[in-house]
Symmetry: C2
Subunit: 429 residues, 2 copies
């Protein structure tokens, strides 16, 4: 993933430090900031102007009543009549938008600077909708969200977008009236940018769901393998804290590993891919082939509850194939967690228990590895949340974006500010 911030690396780095200082110490004057961050006042002036323009920080004006407390400690000769203006983080800045385009719905989340999910909304469309329709739906949803008091779309820090299917720069193009010869992702990017001129990050939505599981799904981990059993099978790899895209954007396609060379034909052109054995349609089809009347997930659930031995056999067979692929991932990537997503996992516990057998077998060559296999813990918002997580991991500025202070708050806060300032001065002297 590239950094979409576009700024000069050195300036971006300075910006990060300024933000960290304001988070740690509360409101500071430019001179205090320059001293704290260790850069010249001229450079600092550039940095703060840039941050002010982007509304990442605001000028902090102490309220009139607080002036009765007397001058702040350490305020120097520049303090004539009124205090030197100080800078603080903008409490409204830094909301992030995550958009996950599925085949039949778009899921949108808004996450604030404190990594709290402020909003989570779905809008459905027919699965044959074209991209202009899908984008129109999302823009309408955003217009509605923008009216909410807790959503601040005008101060967005960035947008992350999840796409279905393998995401690659070489995705096929499509024609639209307004944007001839463009890829779906380019089309979406351009339309979003028309309304929200902020950094936009795009990736495959299943892969992003894997990142969300690594960051917010349980104990945060830097090494996670994610696979989702659904109409198809997709996956995502988080290695060393980063989502793996691969040389051409195809990484994480666990569903198309050949498990059985004499297996069923796959839509990808091969035979016996994991998807032909462990996807929901593959499992249902195999049940019917063996004579069990199971045509939907809910019928499968009932069959499992009735302990139907044919259905059990099919599920254990699928779990075995899943375990072969995950076991290989365990040996080669040495993750700390393997997460399996998809509704079917809730209905058919055999899938995971059987996969665990193959994984345990493979782990014998890795004495000391503490690998955990678990079902996914996030819901339908996983892709959209992952898009936000990817934004946070992509931009060094956003990655450590702080929980902001509130610049026009009560006296309590002002007292805290002064304490923080005094402590800072102690540390610096």
């Amino acid at each position: 993933m590239r950094n979409h911030d576009g700024g000069h690396p050195m300036r971006r780095d300075h910006e990060e430090r300024v933000i960290a200082a304001l988070r740690d110490l509360g409101p500071l004057s430019r001179a205090e900031l320059a001293q704290r961050v260790g850069i010249s006042r001229t450079t600092m002036s550039d940095i703060t102007n840039h941050l002010l323009n982007r509304a990442m920080i605001v000028t902090y004006e102490p309220s009139a009543e607080s002036e009765s407390d007397g001058p702040a400690p350490g305020s120097g000769p520049s303090r004539r009549g009124r205090p030197a203006s100080r800078l603080a983080l903008n409490p409204r800045a830094g909301q992030l938008l995550g958009i996950d385009f599925g085949h039949r719905r778009v899921h949108v989340v808004v996450v604030d600077a404190a990594h709290r999910m402020v909003a989570s909304e779905i809008r459905r469309y027919p699965s044959d909708s074209d991209w202009p329709t899908r984008v129109a739906e999302v823009l309408e949803l955003l217009r509605q969200l923008g009216r909410r008091a807790d959503v601040e779309l005008s101060g967005l820090s960035g947008i992350g977008v999840g796409f279905p299917g393998p995401f690659s720069p070489r995705m096929p193009t499509f024609d639209s009236d307004d944007h001839p010869e463009t890829t779906p992702s380019e089309f979406v990017r351009n339309r979003l940018r028309d309304h929200y001129p902020v950094p936009i990050m795009i990736d495959n939505n299943t892969r992003l769901a894997g990142l969300a599981e690594a960051v917010w799904g349980g104990a945060e981990t830097d090494h996670l393998v994610y696979v989702r059993l659904s109409d198809g099978i997709g996956g995502g790899l988080v290695i060393g804290g980063r989502l793996v895209t691969g040389a051409d954007g195809f990484a994480g396609e666990l569903g198309h590993v050949s498990v059985r060379l004499d297996g069923p034909d796959c839509r990808c052109g091969k035979r016996g891919c994991l998807e032909t054995i462990a996807s929901v349609p593959a499992i249902l089809a195999r049940c019917q082939e063996l004579g069990a009347r199971v045509t939907s997930l809910s019928e499968l659930r009932t069959a499992v509850e009735r302990a139907d031995p044919l259905v059990d056999r099919v599920l254990r067979d699928a779990g075995d194939a899943l375990g072969r692929v995950l076991g290989t991932m365990a040996v080669t990537l040495n993750p700390s967690e393997i997460v399996v997503g998809g509704e079917i996992v809730q209905h058919a516990p055999q899938l995971l228990s059987q996969a665990q057998i193959m994984i345990n077998w493979e782990l014998q060559s890795m004495a000391g590895s503490e690998l955990r296999l678990r079902p996914a813990s996030l819901g339908d918002e996983d892709g959209a949340l992952g898009a936000v997580a990817a934004l946070l991991h992509t931009s060094p500025l956003l990655a450590n974006y702080p929980v902001p202070g509130t610049p026009s708050d009560d006296d309590h806060r002002q007292a805290e500010d002064r304490t923080a300032l005094r402590q800072a001065q102690d540390r610096l002297s």
Copy 2:
């Protein structure tokens, strides 16, 4: 991998900029440096003192005859009688040492700041040598190397060390007289540090060989899968430009993926691991089982030259198993290169051609991927070179360490310096 530099991140970052400025602009005064890098003079003084202490930079004294050229442009009031001292990169600093401990030999390389291999030496020991013996051998070798004019071990920037076998923080301990209850890696680290107080990075040597192939083996790539067929089978993964270690340090163990559940017993406790089918001893054993009298690599080579159909069958079978594992890596990691190392690859081209068939089959689900399968191109020094590459990738300071200028050179160089300074002043004004 962690950064072993140990310095404060902010200072390290400043150091990098100072070094980059000296590389780009030639010798500069402290004031010029502070202006160029955009940090305060106080901070700059700390930075330069630290770099001077570590001999990364030196004080640049213009030679007497160059003074006849008159004062350098832009020199200010501080120039009284003699010029303000300027700083320059130390041309002798920044050599890096790579050490690869094999079972029967240690390979040492010295790489200079311009990424040139200055020295490459081997010292052999019996395969049952203990660690104190191995370290004594390497220290003796280093004493000899230190006498060479082009090797500057007193100004080392760092040492990278490759170890055989899976490398993990949980490696078993061993007793030595001087260092009771320590791991081999801790023992080696302590002994080396006694003689060379520089950052020391340690990793598995096969994994490091993979990194060396990614960096110096051909076209530099950020996405590479490496596997080596030898007495055992090991591997290494480079993803997004970084060597993958995994959650517990086991990543890259391609030799212990189960390929055939009914295959031969493996030393790791499982059956049918790739190592039991495609390692050199496994291939030789299988040839003999089928009736071909092939007991060594050279006999295998002769048999291949004679087109022995039994041997061909064994090799194609091994290549097929290799292709199964590499094909899975291709689909899940989407690398741009897969590299197969080990002497046997030179003798038995079937191994790679058969593996290519499985890889091509797997690639069908990834239209547009341009994956290249190739034999390793580096020789026995690959592990030691990889240790140096890991150092370069680990330390931000070392990673972009510049080709140094020569501070006490001829007039030509002085003229270049002045030109660079003038250009710098133009850029800054």
